[in-house]
Symmetry: C2
Subunit: 220 residues, 2 copies
Amino acid sequence: MSTDQTRLAILTAAERLYADHSFGDVTLRDIVSEAQVNLAAVNYHFGSKDELIAELYVSRSIALNRERLAELKAAEEAGNGRAEIRDVIRALVGPPLRGCLDPDRQRSAAARFMIRASAESVPVIRKIKTREIGHLRQFAEAMQRSLPEMPAADIYWGLHFALAMSHETINANERLQRLSGGACDLSDVNGVIARVVEAATLALTAPSAPERAAPSPSTP
Amino acid sequence: MSTDQTRLAILTAAERLYADHSFGDVTLRDIVSEAQVNLAAVNYHFGSKDELIAELYVSRSIALNRERLAELKAAEEAGNGRAEIRDVIRALVGPPLRGCLDPDRQRSAAARFMIRASAESVPVIRKIKTREIGHLRQFAEAMQRSLPEMPAADIYWGLHFALAMSHETINANERLQRLSGGACDLSDVNGVIARVVEAATLALTAPSAPERAAPSPSTP
DNA sequence: AATAGTTTCATACAAGCGTTTGAATTGCAA
DNA sequence: TTGCAATTCAAACGCTTGTATGAAACTATT
């Protein structure tokens, strides 16, 4: 078996496992068993477990960013340099939502791995997360172009809320299904995306200073 | 030292550690070191590490639910049985946000522990999470009372989005701070709560069927 | 076909984990 | 003070983890 074959088998096996199980729960032996390679293969090809995780995260991160930016670019070109705010947000939340809610488990492993990496921060990943900030900044700038009058802080909050809703929809999907007794249909991917985009857009275009200040109830 | 003193020391030490570190990273030896008790004390007083985590989670879960429901009850009584939707949402997201963003680390440990338990699901906690569904259902019912015309599915989505924004605001606060370069002020707790409440309210009262269906770009 | 360089493999290792043990210590009633 | 139960403690247990090793198997060039 060639080098690249083994490397790829390990990467995809690790991705599959991390998509479904917590970082702390997946051992090197689980990974090599899933990949059907020898235990020593990981250390031989990647150096260490952490380096394997890092390489996996970086490669998937690049792929996700590329997918998001392609949609953003398409939306901005369609609008002659200024996209509708809805389309900017859809370019941000669409790829992960489509990836994670996709019934094809194989395809969705990458997306679910990324969501886990985003929520359940393990030291080795936290260190290379600076990359994500730069990526998101491109979206903040596109949003600012779309809404030139909007204060910068509101833009950031809107971006933050959009990510919040898409991430939690993926992570807490079981809770939502059980709470709603099936009334919320997560298999309708486009419907879910439309809901998230709509909610994020409304949150963003709301008045920045809420007219009703929050009372501070019973805080000593 | 009396039994209850040791039990309490272990519980609060575990809470402090879990508030700041991932579940996989905190060992029994870390906990007993923080609590300044002997290693065997955990197994003596709680039976096992999992039982310690379970007891901690249940007790904090009860406390959070009580705090939320007290605010909800107050809001509904002020409105003669029907609270403003904003106040229902504030009763839901206010306690965790106030708890987690509170500068007093000691007080906020409980809230941050709960958020971690909510995001980073460890098997022992997942098994007792059914409790949370029943708790949230009470909020869904209050929201339905506040918005009688609203379809049930929209109520659940609104509740889901409200939790999403409050949780991510706590979990990804470092990302938001760095992305915004400090423009988003998380130390203004009431301001943050007002933003989350406002965004969640708008997402909820938005038209349930978005007029702009999401196109499905370049999905093979 | 022989050889040099990769890659695989079974196995072992040290370290860390949660848990157990049995003796020492403590606290309190008689 | 004596005696008994509850609690603490140091030490060790068995197990799992990530990593290292050296021999075996494979690949490819000559």
